[in-house]
């Protein structure tokens, strides 16, 4: 048996299927470039002088001022890039927070069942009956306005869906042979949950993360617009808020820049999320 071939893993198959989809590759590139841009902006390599006055107030888009200028003569392009920093960080941190809570509670509840399950189900049903906008408002009240409040507010209100899914999967998996085998060789609960079952349901976590990411970006824009969001740094939401009054005077470029910048990345995440689902969950292919 010298010619044994290592069988391709699920992840390898998924990667192959993802990269054979041209649309998904384009979207992946878009997402990566937004990340790169956000990191460069955070490190101060690009758009560091977004607050500087570089020309006349409300200069329309031209070859000199690519996306036009705002009321204080600041570059809309630089503000848009700075806004991507806020948006991407909100998407990432929110996604991670809701992933940690959702996976942990879902896994514990599905695996142990019984009283633990009842308490966790009660907890997320309760949580879910409160409209999320009210929770967001309450959390921003408590923590004060700012980006940390946004991270926590969006993260703490978005884990219920994932928790439900993970719980359902754990209930399905916990009595399967491979888990019994793991107990037979002496694996503890912790080991069975994280080493054995979790990798089998990881695809749900990944798909959910990519969808959560774009929902968070959209919510950040609305929260910032409501005045509950980031302060001091431009975000797409505050740009749209500023642009509200400019629009009637025909100054459309700030609104357009923020809207289009957001639309491209959210669209990319949406398509990527669907492609990921097709790649990782072959049962759903073509739906």
């Amino acid at each position: 048996m010298s010619d044994t071939q290592k069988s391709k893993s699920l992840w390898y198959h998924a990667w192959e299927s993802l990269t054979s989809d041209k649309m998904a590759v384009v979207c992946l590139l878009i997402v990566v470039s937004y990340f790169v841009l956000a990191i460069l902006s955070a490190l101060g390599f690009v758009a560091a002088d977004y607050a500087k006055e570089i020309g006349p107030s409300y200069a329309p888009p031209s070859s000199e001022y690519l996306f036009g200028l705002d009321i204080f003569g600041r570059s809309v392009l630089a503000k848009t890039i700075k806004g991507s920093e806020v948006a991407m960080s909100v998407g990432l941190v929110t996604g991670v927070i809701s992933m940690i809570i959702g996976v942990f509670l879902g896994a514990v509840s599905g695996y142990f069942g019984g009283k633990v399950d009842e308490v966790i189900v009660w907890f997320y049903t309760t949580f879910n009956s409160i409209p999320y906008i009210m929770l967001l408002v309450a959390i921003t009240f408590i923590l004060g306005k700012g980006i940390i409040a946004i991270y926590l507010a969006l993260g703490l209100t978005s884990w219920v869906g994932l928790c439900r899914l993970i719980r359902g999967e754990f209930i399905r998996h916990k009595d399967r042979e491979y888990v019994q085998a793991a107990s037979a060789i002496g694996g503890g609960d912790f080991r069975k949950i994280f080493k054995h079952i979790l990798p089998n349901v990881l695809h749900i976590v990944i798909i959910n993360f990519s969808l959560q990411f774009q929902v968070a970006i959209k919510s950040e824009v609305i929260l910032s617009y409501l005045g509950l969001g980031v302060q001091g740094v431009p975000s797409w939401g505050t740009m749209i808020n500023d642009a509200k009054l400019e629009l009637a005077r025909g100054n459309w470029w700030q609104l357009a820049a923020a809207t289009v910048a957001m639309m491209i990345v959210v669209l990319a995440f949406n398509i990527l999320g669907d492609a990921l689902r097709d790649a990782l969950d072959p049962k759903l292919k073509g739906k």
């Binding site: 309760t126 009240f141 949406n270």
Partner: protein, 300 residues
């Protein structure tokens, strides 16, 4: 249901009475004297023990007596009553319209599944979902109401024919906002059904595709469709925060927004309790409807 309701009250209590910054500070400003603050605390009932304050929230859930707003001094139950109608004049027609539209579209595209028209529709839906709702509202108000003058820019009048011109554009925007996610959701449900064995049987015995779609697929998909529709009804009463504030419609969404801006805790608390209550009631209703639509499902 009761434990969930008590839990909701507890979370609201923790959020607004324990963790929130002192409301007297917000109301009186930073330069208030100690005695002023103490008086206000006594007036608002904030100096009572915590379990009485918690019990107050629980009681208001069942009696609907929420007290008065801190900022407008109005009776909150009165505010809710007055705000519900304007909210519903926007959301109810919009909801019915968008539901019928998206179910029809999803029937058509699941009939042509995998073809160009299906792919194009899905793409358009995703694209529609990717634009911020703020952009729809701002551009819609700008172009259709301000520049073209087709609709009223903002405002509201009471009474049946009077409010119509004010709600048309909000309804249109609501429909555009909800059609993307709705079509995608309904389409997934239909496709779930289309690949079932009973559809293959129906096809094998020679039924037309039309009969299969309407008689078999739609009927079976109804279970999931009803859940999805019913569970969103409580949110209709709440209205849309953003749409109402942009178009100055005096509905519940606007009330919430004002309460948020003026830190009016009793109003926010009352709205949270009410919407949680509505949500719980409608989840129970969905469970009951389940058994009506699908006799295989039994309530435990």
């Amino acid at each position: 249901m009761i434990p969930v309701l008590l839990g909701v009250c507890f979370i609201i209590f923790i959020l607004f009475s324990v963790l929130s910054p002192d409301p007297t500070l917000i109301m009186l400003g930073k330069h208030a004297s100690k005695t002023q603050m103490m008086e206000l605390r006594a007036e608002l009932g904030l100096d009572r023990p915590w379990f009485i304050q918690y019990f107050d929230i629980v009681r208001s859930t069942f009696t609907f007596e929420f007290g008065r707003s801190w900022s407008t001094k109005q009776e909150i139950s009165e505010m809710i009553k007055n705000g519900a109608i304007p909210s519903l004049t926007v959301t109810l027609p919009a909801f019915i319209l968008s539901s019928i539209l998206s179910i029809s579209i999803s029937l058509v595209v699941s009939f042509y599944r995998g073809k160009m028209i299906d792919k194009a529709t899905v793409f358009v839906c995703v694209a529609l979902m990717s634009v911020s709702s703020l952009a729809y509202i701002l551009y819609g108000q700008m172009f259709f109401a301000f520049q073209l003058g087709w609709f009223e820019i903002s405002g509201y009048e009471e009474g049946f024919p009077n409010f119509v011109p004010y709600v048309l554009l909000p309804i249109l925007i609501w429909v555009v906002l909800s059609i993307g996610p709705d079509v995608r959701f309904y389409r997934t449900i239909m496709l779930d059904e289309i690949y079932q064995d009973y559809v293959r049987t129906a096809r094998a015995k020679g039924l037309s595709e039309k009969a299969i779609m309407f008689k078999h697929v739609l009927k079976n998909a109804m279970v999931s469709i009803i859940t999805y529709v019913v569970i969103r009804i409580p949110f209709l009463i709440l209205g849309s925060l953003l749409i109402e504030s942009f178009f100055s419609i005096p509905g519940l969404g606007g009330i919430i927004l004002n309460a948020i801006n003026s830190s009016d805790f009793p109003v926010i608390r009352a709205m949270t309790v009410m919407s949680a209550l509505a949500y719980i009631l409608f989840s129970v209703l969905t469970d009951v409807l389940y058994t009506v639509v699908d006799p295989r499902v039994r309530l435990r």
